[in-house]
Amino acid sequence: MGNHSDGSPNHSGTVATAGQNEVEKFQDPGIPPHRLRLADTDPKAAKRAERQVALLFGSSVVGTLIFLVAYFAIDLGDDTSIATIRLQNALLGIGTAFAMLGIGTGIVHWAKALMPDHEVSEERHAIRTEEDRLAAVRIVDDIVEETGIKRRPLIRNTLLGAVALAPLPALAVFGDLGPRPDNTLAHTMWAPQDGKLKRLTRDPDGTPIKASDVTIGSAFHVIPEGLNELHEGKLNEKAKAVVLLMRLNPESLNPSPGRENWGYNGIVAYSKICTHVGCPVALYEQQTHHLLCPCHQSTFDLTQECKVIFGPASRPLPQLPIAVDSEGYLVATSDFNEPVGPSYWERDEHERNRNA
């Protein structure tokens, strides 16, 4: 404080406010006089504070006991009800709270009421003195001189080169954290296997769905046939293959050229994985025919081939071409025609390769 007047133009401090200088500033009156507390003057008050502190410490002991009782008296078994767990949790909480708050508030009350409360002032010292700086500079100069690093650039340069290269193995060694990305992202389990078209089955039990099961206004959560039988990578496949199956009035669908046969009597299947960042878009409004992603609210219009009508997604949801097999079950006639889920750097390339 009080540096206003040293505002000569080339000084690093700020210039003084116009018309204001040291003479016109209020003088610092210093630390206010110490006020005595009740406990400082009245021995009774001090005694009372002492008892209060002891009481608080005592309540901590009670809290610890509550905790121990709650821990040992309530055992958890297979038949423990939720209410019992809740009771134990609450008792452990209140026990710990008393144990801790008793100690904490007791100490603080002690400090506030009984320990001396005179404010004191301590001088600050320069973080770095000029003397230290000069001494340090001398030492560094000596060290540099003794190593001779300035005189021997060969040593210096080779050392720099070696040190610069040495971390490379530390980077390389993480090369096996994962496989290199290939085009697996562009394929799902829906691709027909050995010429056999995959049936659409219910999530989670995997039973096949007949076209006649799908009434107007209904929504089925669908996984590909055979997914539940996978032993490895089941979740990886499921993460790409989940599909929402809906039926609406065929007149309200407006398939674009080439996609007329991707549905069946108003039954259409779309990837459930949001094209934004991959949440399952599973909220189907059967009257408005909107699909909503609960994570970031991207909204897709089923009547416009799941075009984005709101929210952060940029691309429509991929449609799964479906048909009905000889037994009346719904099948996927092919894999998705594009990679499902969020966009990635190579996505366009993968899509072109798929359709080539």
Binding site: L38, I82, A83, R86
Partner: protein, 261 residues
């Protein structure tokens, strides 16, 4: 609200709920089986249908049209079945208070008998889902299986703990606590408003029974960790730590740094 939710967690609440459920379903069953010569659950008594027709003409036909054939203001009800009527009227959604994105749940405008009569009338117009049998509402299914079905088919709108969630343009999926098993069942089979239909071919009646069992079980259980903060997830937890958690801490810091008198 709070008192209710606390009572809900009372250890006896489950038993009370179970008793109530049994009484209601038992009562309904008794009524249906004695008054009705027809199927116990559909209550398509000719008398009922006739009375219902009168009620309908007086209260519903303005929007749904004479003969429930629909109008500009409301859809046709031919073929929606008794279940749809029991759900919409029984939860007070119909008659609608005003036009809006969605009909709100409110105190039922018709008593049980009138609701049954309306349902009978609408059911007589064309085949549709009927009111579920009591056996499917006994809450004695497989809660774990129901939980899986619920998470796959319902949680994205209604929230994993059935606390409800938002839909587009002012619509929402309501919370399911306090909704009777019968109404939950009926909602699934009829797909009220923007809810998709979950026909028996999609989720079997046993599956629906499991879902109701799951919902009633988690509702009766309450949260083992204490107050559930609305079961809304990290948002309510974050609000709580900033307002209550930091609030209490700040109160302590102020006490701690204040001077004792």
């Amino acid at each position: 609200m709070k008192a209710l939710s606390q009572k809900r967690r009372h250890p006896l609440a489950a038993i009370a709920l179970l008793l109530m459920g049994l009484l209601v379903t038992g009562g309904l069953y008794a009524v249906a089986s004695t008054v009705n010569q027809a199927k116990a659950t559909t209550s398509t008594n000719a008398n009922d249908a006739e009375e219902g027709g009168k009620l309908f003409a007086a209260n519903c036909a303005t929007c749904h049209g004479m003969g429930a054939s629909g109008s500009q203001a409301g859809p046709s009800l031919v073929g929606v079945g008794a279940a749809a009527v029991d759900f919409q009227v029984g939860t007070g959604r119909m008659p609608m208070q005003m036009n809006g994105p969605q009909a709100y749940k409110k105190p039922a405008q018709f008593n049980e008998e009138q609701t049954r009569q309306l349902a009978a009338y609408v059911a007589s117009l064309g085949p549709g889902p009927s009111i579920p049998e009591a056996g499917l509402l006994d809450e004695k299914g497989d809660a774990a299986a129901g939980g899986e079905l619920f998470r796959t088919n319902c949680a994205m709108c209604h929230n994993a703990a059935a606390a409800g969630g938002a839909l587009t343009r002012g619509k929402f999926a309501p919370a399911l606590a306090g909704v009777s098993g019968q109404h939950i069942y009926e909602a699934m089979v009829t797909g009220p408003q923007n809810m998709p239909v979950f026909s028996d071919a999609n989720i079997s009646p046993e599956g629906k029974r499991d879902i109701i069992t799951f919902l009633k079980q988690i509702e009766a259980n309450g949260s083992p960790g204490g107050a559930d903060l609305g079961a809304l997830g990290p948002v309510s937890e974050g609000l709580f730590i900033w307002i209550a958690g930091l609030g209490v801490i700040i109160a302590f810091t102020i006490w701690l740094t204040s001077r004792t008198s």
